[in-house]
């Protein structure tokens, strides 16, 4: 199933002005309102405290120091200490609350995303690289966290500090405030020009970096082609071009910053100059005090410092927004099949395909008007060449896909009417490639942490897997490595059979593994399969002649259709497709 995933289209750039996106992000905090308001409240109060300090200093200078009353100093100093400690405490609480808020939100989001993924149909998983889903659940969700903590809270903190500083300055002396803030319009103008340039430059750099990475990736993975055609020098030249373009783009970016930061610095100093220029006149006119002037010197620092931070935070926020966009795209993906409400499977069990045709999205038809049925206790082998549609047929039985035309009936109800979980809870599917989880053997048989060890052992004995399991150091509790790497191919197949039997399925769907195993295990597998086919209602995509012979009935698939049906002997006598496959000794 090649081709790019049709499910996740995520190259939309995130915009700051995307109101819907913001509402969406905010709504994540909806059931954490208490914590959110607590953090917000702390934010509003904690930013005020640093601004009280210059006022205290002013009081100290204009009071005890000016009047030379040494004994009046302690209250001021106590207040200073109190301010410092309570300010620190509030800030601590605020930072903690906001981080906690962010972590709680993303934890919940992650769990919800994972739950959502569980409901997606198999086509989604077949076409979407696992790595990409891991990035969504990992890095991207984490970026959202930094959006809440560093981004939103810190950014509003910096903005609040600026607003508070202005208010305090005007409150203290509006004339001096006007004087020190006279440079502000100028600053806003230059900042907006700066931001626009940086934004443009960043876009350009992103494009060049992508180009550079893809060129590098290609040159390295295709290094033998480069070598055979003697193109190393060309590749180096090409790489040098994009590498130096990237460098030049950075040069431009660095230039903007090199203009901007000295500019900010100078404005801070100029506002000090304006402050003292007006301040001196006002002081001589007895309109202001020395303490006020010193306090104002402090305020200008508090006002201008957060400005630097803002431009950094905005950049960080931008990439977090893009991550948020990607996460929401995944969250909004509709890739589930309709869920029915029937939970009880018919007894006796009966499954029927009625003129079923099927095509994968955007693909050609792989099944055409397939009809057959299977009753309780029967076993049916499906054979055919590679690509004849056998595996698809199995997938339709367990409602991984719905037919494009025709009906799959369980009892007399269409398969859509059944709840997926209930249906599959009574079926067992063994795919060709046995997947074992990095858990204990018992977990892998029971597919649940609450396994019944005696039953696990019973089914393992039944399929003759008990011998090798008990020879393992921790027996049934031996943890398996990822994908069961510490087991042989044959042992994995035996475990898959045990897993299916543990489920006590009404219908067993088995895509026989083609992986070669040693002769001894091969014997065990054939024996176990033979037993299972006699005992359980089974549809098996068969590759081994022994399996085919053990089945009650054989369906021969060819190019998406059932072309022949019958017993081994009947089919051989027909001298058709089955006979040819038999001659080839190749059942796909």
């Amino acid at each position: 199933m090649a081709g790019p995933s049709p499910y996740l289209h995520e190259d939309k750039p995130a915009s700051f002005l995307d109101r819907k996106l913001w509402v969406r992000i905010m709504s994540l905090a909806a059931n954490k309102k208490g914590l959110a308001f607590f953090a917000l409240g702390l934010l509003l109060t904690s930013e005020i405290l640093p601004l009280l300090q210059p006022r205290l200093l002013r009081g100290l200078i204009d009071g005890p120091i000016k009047n030379r009353h040494f004994q009046d100093m302690p209250p001021y100093l106590l207040a200073f200490a109190a301010l410092a400690v309570s300010g620190g405490l509030l800030e601590y609480l605020r930072a903690f609350a906001s981080q906690r808020l962010g972590l709680d939100i993303i934890n919940e989001l992650r769990i919800r995303l994972f739950h959502k993924l569980q409901g997606f149909h198999m086509d989604f998983f077949n076409r979407t690289p696992v790595g990409r889903l891991m990035t969504r659940l990992g890095n991207d969700v984490d970026s959202l966290n930094s959006m809440f903590t560093e981004g939103l809270i810190e950014l509003s903190g910096a903005l609040l500090m600026i607003v508070y500083a202005v208010i305090f300055m005007f409150f203290l002396d509006w004339k001096l405030a006007l004087a020190s803030l006279a440079v502000l319009p100028f600053m806003i103008l230059v900042t907006s020009i700066f931001r626009e340039n940086v934004r443009r430059s960043n876009t350009k750099i992103r494009g060049l970096l992508a180009e550079q990475n893809s060129l590098m990736q290609e040159s390295l993975s295709g290094v033998h082609i480069v070598r055979i055609f003697g193109r190393s020098a060309d590749m180096e030249q090409k790489f040098d071009k994009v590498n130096s373009d990237t460098r030049d783009a950075w040069f431009e970016n660095v230039r903007y910053y090199s203009y901007y930061f000295p500019f900010l610095n100078s404005l801070t100093e100029f506002s000090l100059v304006l402050l003292y220029f007006c301040g001196a006149y006002m002081f001589y006119g007895h309109h202001t005090s020395l303490g006020t002037l010193v306090a104002f010197s402090w305020y200008t620092g508090l006002f201008f410092r957060p400005l630097r931070e803002i431009s950094d935070k905005v950049t960080a926020l931008q990439s977090a927004l893009a991550a948020a966009e990607r996460v929401f795209t995944l969250y909004d993906t509709e890739a589930s099949l309709p869920e029915g409400n029937l939970t009880a499977l018919p007894s006796p069990f009966h499954l029927r395909f009625d003129k079923v045709s099927f095509a994968y999205p955007t693909g050609p038809e792989v099944l055409r008007e397939v009809s057959f049925d299977i009753r309780e206790g029967e076993s049916v082998a499906v054979v055919g060449a590679t690509g004849s549609g056998k595996s698809t047929l199995i997938s339709l039985c367990s409602k991984f896909y719905l037919p494009t035309r025709g009906q799959v009936l369980v009892g007399d109800k269409p398969i859509e009417a059944y709840s997926e979980t209930a249906l599959r809870g009574r079926m067992a599917l063994i795919p060709q490639d046995v997947h074992l989880f990095a858990e204990s053997i018992a977990f892998n048989v029971a597919l649940s942490p609450d396994f019944d060890l005696s039953r696990v052992e019973e089914v393992c004995r039944h399929v003759r897997a008990h011998e090798f399991i008990s020879s393992l150091p921790q027996g049934y509790l031996t943890p398996l490595r990822q994908r069961g790497e510490n087991l042989s191919a044959g042992q994995r197949q035996l475990l898959a059979l045990a897993r299916a039997l543990y489920q006590q399925p009404k219908l067993l769907l088995l895509d026989e593994a083609t992986a070669s195993v040693d002769t001894e295990t091969e014997g065990l597998i054939q024996e176990a399969l033979g037993k299972v086919l006699k005992e359980v209602t089974t549809i098996v995509v068969a590759h081994r002649l022994s399996t085919i012979k053990n089945a009650d009935r054989i369906l021969v698939m060819h190019k998406g259709q059932i072309r022949e049906e019958g017993s081994h002997a009947d089919l051989l006598a027909m001298n058709g497709i089955y006979a040819k496959l038999y001659q080839l000794q190749s059942f796909g």
Partner: protein, 591 residues
């Protein structure tokens, strides 16, 4: 891949040539750092003078002078700041460029054997993440460090000049800051390890579950897996929260220390003012100096962590460089139209053996010879050594001595470049680059009429698909040619090989995705084109090799059967058995 820790000297040796190359801007940048930081100390001092003048009665001219000094100093300092930033940061970007360029050039001349031991992702992360960190250290981090150092010294000098006693009261708490921050950060990094561990556990779990989705869904067992995921996510949240606790306490703690320093100075200095030991202006200036020191000091923690990370990155790059093998001869651009096309007389292979790891033989005792105009087919089960044999012939791996002989000359006596020019190669998967189809074909060599892009594409059977490409041969391909079908990729790869003037063409199962009819047409073209040259065809489908002068059947690296198609059929061995199967499956196709 974790790299062994290097000594400072080794790191220095690695970076020195790059730093030396940019010594001029870096030197001047640093001089400017020193001067501008010194100039920054002027304005608080002027505030002192102004405040003192204000108290001493009418002194407007003097105040104006002071303000003028601030303006002048600010302007000069702004210019210096501009250039120091521009020079140092641009130098770091230039160094990043050179480092990356050298890394890429170094990789391009590595033999194929080197790439067999590395993953592309790993090499990519060297070139991106690791180089980024080194650049950040050389640029902003060192710049910040230099500014910090100067600032500390100059501030201390200024406060000392104001009054020696103020230095003690004011600076002491500030000095605790970087030390405290460092201790805090170290603790935090320990907790960071916890986050990393839980995060990779979560990632592994997601990967494990999602790759086994067919089982999870097939048994209707989402619930236990969701519960386990919830647990892992919860663990991650908890460990992140522990770091958050630390994180949340650092900055407020530093802030508190700073304010206490100011308060302490105000109290102690205030007493000195009252006792007429210093003026109010002096005290205010001291406080201004302290306030200016506060935020840069906080940055020290950041500097420490960045240096640490950059060191790890340098070590990884040195380790990579150490693992480089002897470089192959750097290929010069393909021969221009004036140079002669390489000639081919004969190729002989004598008991050629090969092993990737020096233990398991992949090829063993392979011998055959080819004359001008000859053709050779190579068949055998997957993993029998077909591709390795072709790669050896094309010169991707060094063969054992005396095993390869071209036109009567031993491999060892021919330069890499000379050898290479005799072979061209078309891989099974095309291996295309993300550029236009035309550029991909031109990768093989220059157009020399009648060998044009259109012509070779026609011979390779690509031209019939032309209407499917939106912009004809100018259509852009995605990474690895993802927007083409497998058969189209193969034919672009074949066109590329055909444009090369090399006399020996190696096909590595290049026609496998073509239908029988197209395959026959393309093979017919090839046979005609290479009548005076030589064709080597490795294939799974025997229809591709049945017309070859000689066919080798390989199994586990050895020649098991050989001869013409007819001879091999008569032999009735492995070749004949597979041929019969293939014929049967073909007839099944037409049922």
């Amino acid at each position: 891949m974790s790299a062994p820790k290097k000594t400072f000297a080794e790191r220095w040796t690695y970076l020195r040539p790059y730093l030396w190359e940019h010594r001029v801007p870096i030197f001047w940048g640093w001089i400017f750092v020193v001067v501008s930081t010194a100039l920054d100390q002027v304005s608080p001092w002027m505030v002192k003078v102004i405040l003192d003048s204000l108290q001493s009665g009418s002194a407007m001219p003097k105040i104006m002078q002071c303000l003028a000094v601030i303006v002048a100093v600010t302007l000069v300092s702004a210019i210096l700041l501009f250039y120091q930033r521009l020079w140092v940061i641009q130098a770091s970007r230039q160094m990043e460029y050179s480092l990356r360029k050298d890394l890429f050039a170094g990789l391009m001349v590595q033999p194929k054997a080197f790439f067999d031991r590395q993953t592309v992702g790993d090499l990519m992360s060297r070139s991106t993440n690791d180089l980024d960190r080194i650049r950040d250290m050389i640029g902003p981090v060192v710049l910040h460090l230099a500014r910090m150092g100067c600032l500390l010294i100059f501030t201390a000098v200024c406060i000392f000049l104001l009054h020696p006693k103020l230095l003690l009261t004011g600076l002491l708490p500030s000095l605790v800051m970087p030390i405290a921050a460092n201790i805090f950060l170290k603790k935090m990094y320990a907790h960071f390890g916890g986050i990393q561990k839980n995060l990779s556990a979560l990632n592994a779990y997601v990967q494990d579950t999602l790759s086994g989705m067919q089982v999870v869904k097939g048994f209707g067992r989402s619930q236990p897996f969701e519960e386990k995921f919830r647990g892992a996510s919860e663990e991650l949240r908890k460990s992140s929260l522990r770091v958050a606790l630390f994180n949340a306490s650092i900055w407020p703690a530093i802030g508190v220390l700073g304010v206490i320093g100011v308060a302490f100075s105000a109290w102690y200095g205030g007493r000195m003012v009252i006792q007429n030991q210093i003026t109010l202006g002096t005290l205010s200036a001291a406080i201004l100096y302290l306030l200016r020191l506060q935020f840069p000091l906080i940055g020290l923690g950041w500097v420490a962590s960045m240096v640490q990370r950059a060191n790890v990155s340098i070590d990884r790059l040195i380790h990579l460089k150490d693992s480089f093998l002897a470089p192959v001869h750097r290929a010069s651009p393909p021969p221009s139209s004036t140079s002669t096309t390489p000639e081919f007389e004969s190729l002989s292979v004598r008991s050629l053996g090969f092993s990737y790891d020096g233990k398991t033989p992949v090829l063993d005792g392979i011998s055959f010879s080819l004359e001008r105009g000859g053709s050779l087919g190579i068949v055998g089960p997957t993993g029998c050594g077909k591709t390795t044999l072709l790669h050896l012939l094309c010169g991707l791996y060094p063969p054992p001595p005396h095993s390869l002989n071209l036109n009567g000359r031993e491999r060892a006596d021919v330069s890499d470049e000379d050898w290479r020019q005799h072979f061209s190669y078309a891989p099974q998967d095309g291996f295309l680059f993300s550029t236009t189809i035309r550029e991909n074909i031109l990768f093989g060599g220059d157009e020399k009429p009648p060998m044009t892009v259109e012509q070779v594409a026609d011979w390779a059977g690509l031209s019939r698909d032309l209407p499917q490409f939106p912009n004809g041969y100018e259509s852009m391909l995605g990474e690895k040619g993802i927007n083409l079908s497998g058969g189209q990729r193969q034919r672009v790869g074949l066109s590329r090989a055909l444009l090369s003037p090399a006399p020996v063409l190696c096909l590595d199962d290049t026609l496998s995705a073509l239908d029988a009819e197209t395959e026959e047409v393309v093979l017919e073209n090839l046979r005609r084109l290479f009548r005076q040259r030589c064709l080597i065809i490795a294939a799974h489908r025997y229809s591709a090799v049945m017309h070859c002068d000689r066919i080798l059947y390989l199994d586990r690296g050895r020649i098991v059967e050989q001869g013409t198609h007819e001879e091999l059929l008569r032999l009735n061995g492995a070749y004949a058995a597979v041929w019969e199967k293939q014929r049967l499956s073909e007839s099944l196709e037409t049922v």
